[in-house]
């Protein structure tokens, strides 16, 4: 999200007495829910179960710091060697070697093996301090990650000394104005960390969580506390993929988005006439429902085609078809979508909803939208989500998606499939009330023919047609026939 970043100055360094200074993490989303980043010169605890992304969050903090904010960072690993660490994060799109070579990053592995250590008499952790200081001074590090300090608890018997030294460590980091992340394994019974490191870290605590529900995993992040700063209080989904770590503060949006008043042609000949003569509102949401084979995807494609012809960028999420399949099929109604793809105006993302959890799916959509910055987003069909979440969850996610798109003033078109058994005016996912415009497609049987009918069930903010329109498909595209398709209307239920 380059735009969001640009508006936030890198706040480390300099002198400010007013309020808490923050260090932007550069992690998409995290800086938004922390309202600017982590507390400058303080230590932040990142706690979570095994495999929930603590190490990656720490590494991303350093990599982004080095790349975006020109702040070198030191990673002190207690569990993995520098080599292992490089390999592990390489799969996630971080190349550490160049950063290490250019002195933007230093990796140090502190190995603590209880079996080869004997304790006798008084000691302190000055050796660790020396190593930290050495690592920090070798590149002028401003950021530090300790992953994970709890290894010390397993390696040393004298926890009294250890606790005193941890206190000293966090003070020492503060004196040096190092913005640090320490990670901790979450303990049983909902304890944040197994050994209570949160007692020493008082400024900022972030909890990570990795849940499996119906065999689909979802990662979540929550700011447990942030002294001296307000912050988003929800659990936010986050995603780890080959682009690194992204947090999705989508729930933080409200209903305070602007309402642009321009119009967009629907691309279907004659349909704009039924919509106040001008088409959809720009930045509105459009729902196209219909039974199988009524032409939902065609209506969507026609809209996309018209938008691309105007030079607008379209992002098309296909839940049931591959990009090539959609492009091929739409040739049959005379749409050449391939040229828009080639010109970079159209991106088609195909992913089955079951590939990710609902939250992660939303996350991927969010990411694609942030990267492509489209004018129009199509999701075809929304119905697929029902297979990965309860109705309530699906509705919640779609609401957030709508809020997100509206805040960006992106026009959204969704299709949903309704079964022939059910009332066609009952949309499957129960989201029709969130939509600004609702088009219903049906087939009518008369005189030995199946005709396709289109109703404008609602369209907020405009006087729309109440007619039942006949929709005609041809190799030249979709067309609304003049007049009404009122002949021999069958009953709603068969």
């Amino acid at each position: 999200m380059p735009r969001a970043r640009a508006s936030k100055p890198a706040s480390s360094g300099g002198s400010a007495v007013s309020g808490l200074k923050k260090v932007p993490t550069g992690i998409t989303g995290l800086d938004e829910i922390t309202l600017g980043g982590l507390p400058f010169g303080r230590t932040t605890l990142v706690a979570g179960g095994p495999g929930c992304g603590k190490t990656l969050l720490g590494m991303e903090f350093l990599v982004q710091g080095a790349q975006q904010f020109n702040e070198p960072g030191a990673f002190i690993a207690f569990e993995e060697t520098a080599q292992e660490l490089s390999e592990n994060v390489h799969a996630l799109g971080y190349a550490l070697e160049p950063l290490v070579k250019s002195k933007k990053l230093v990796l140090d592995h502190v190995r603590i093996e209880r079996s080869e250590i004997q304790e006798t008499g008084d000691y302190d952790l000055e050796g660790l301090f020396v190593r930290l200081a050495h690592a920090i001074d070798s590149i002028g590090a401003k950021r530090l990650v300790l992953d994970t300090l709890e290894v010390l608890f397993a390696g040393l018997k004298d926890h009294g000394i250890l606790r005193a030294e941890l206190r000293r460590l966090f003070r020492w980091l503060k004196d040096r104005q190092i913005t640090a992340i320490v990670t901790a394994e979450s303990g049983p019974d909902g304890k944040l960390s197994r050994h209570g490191i949160e007692e020493y870290v008082s400024d900022c605590v972030i909890a990570l969580d990795h849940r499996i529900s119906q065999q689909i995993s979802t990662r979540r992040l929550r700011i447990v506390k942030y002294r001296g700063s307000s912050h988003g209080a929800n659990e936010y989904p986050f995603l780890i993929d080959d682009g690194g770590l992204v947090v999705f503060p989508i729930t933080s949006l409200g209903l305070d988005y602007g309402a642009p008043s321009g119009h967009l042609a629907s691309g279907v000949t004659g349909l704009d006439a039924a919509l106040d003569g001008r088409g959809f509102f720009r930045g509105s949401s459009v729902l196209v429902t219909g039974t199988a084979g009524t032409g939902k995807t065609s209506v969507a494609a026609q809209f996309v085609n018209a938008a691309c012809a105007r030079g607008e960028r379209c992002l098309y999420f296909a839940m049931e078809e591959s990009p090539d399949q959609i492009v091929r099929n739409m040739r049959s109604i005379g749409l050449n979508l391939e040229r828009w793809r080639k010109r970079g105006l159209l991106q088609v993302h195909s992913a089955r909803p079951t590939l990710h959890g609902l939250e992660s799916h939303l996350a991927t959509v969010y990411r694609a939208v942030s990267l492509f910055d489209p004018h129009i987003v199509v999701m075809d069909p929304l119905t697929g989500f029902s297979s990965v979440g309860s109705d309530r969850e699906v509705t919640a996610v779609i609401t957030r998606l709508l809020d997100f798109l509206k805040a960006k003033q992106i026009t959204a078109l969704f299709t949903t499939l309704v079964s022939t058994q059910s009332d066609p005016e009952h949309s499957e996912v129960g989201v029709s009330s969130w939509m600004d415009t609702w088009l219903l497609l049906r087939t009518l049987e008369s005189e030995g023919l199946r005709r396709r009918a289109l109703y404008v069930i609602k369209s907020r903010g405009m006087s729309h047609s109440d007619r039942i329109h006949e929709l005609q498909f041809s190799s030249r595209g979709l067309r609304i026939l003049p007049g009404s398709a009122t002949r021999a209307l069958p009953p709603v239920r068969a």
């Binding site: 140090d108 502190v110 190995r111 603590i112 080869e116 250590i117 004997q118 304790e119 006798t120 008499g121 008084d122 000691y123 302190d124 952790l125 000055e126 050796g127 660790l128 301090f129 020396v130 190593r131 200081a133 050495h134 010390l152 040393l156």
Partner: protein, 101 residues
């Protein structure tokens, strides 16, 4: 086991003591080490004193995090003892010089 037992192998003992400046802990550790070696390893040992404040880069090689740390480099395997070495019995066990009854 009344008499101190010499190490099984006649090879020399290479010991390294890591300190950080002349702190009381470090001075005590050094004195303790000296005394134990004189008593149990007479003429068979070398002590290398490394002050990490002078040479911080050396902490990485022997994986030092606590101070003072005594490292037995030879005979192998490498063993480590952290602390001021005030408990002689523990030091002997840690260095594997003599097994306690």
């Amino acid at each position: 086991m009344s008499a101190p037992a010499p190490p099984d192998s006649p090879e020399r003992w290479q010991l390294r003591l890591y300190v950080a400046g002349q702190t009381p802990k470090c001075l005590i550790a050094f004195a303790n080490l000296k005394r134990i070696c004189e008593e149990y390893l007479t003429g068979q040992y070398d002590i290398e004193l490394i002050d990490l404040l002078q040479t911080p880069a050396l902490a990485q090689g022997d994986q030092i995090f606590a101070i003072p740390t005594l490292v037995r480099k030879l005979p192998e395997p490498v063993r480590k003892i952290i602390g001021d070495l005030s408990n002689t019995e523990r030091v002997l066990v840690g260095l594997d010089i003599r097994r306690l009854p």
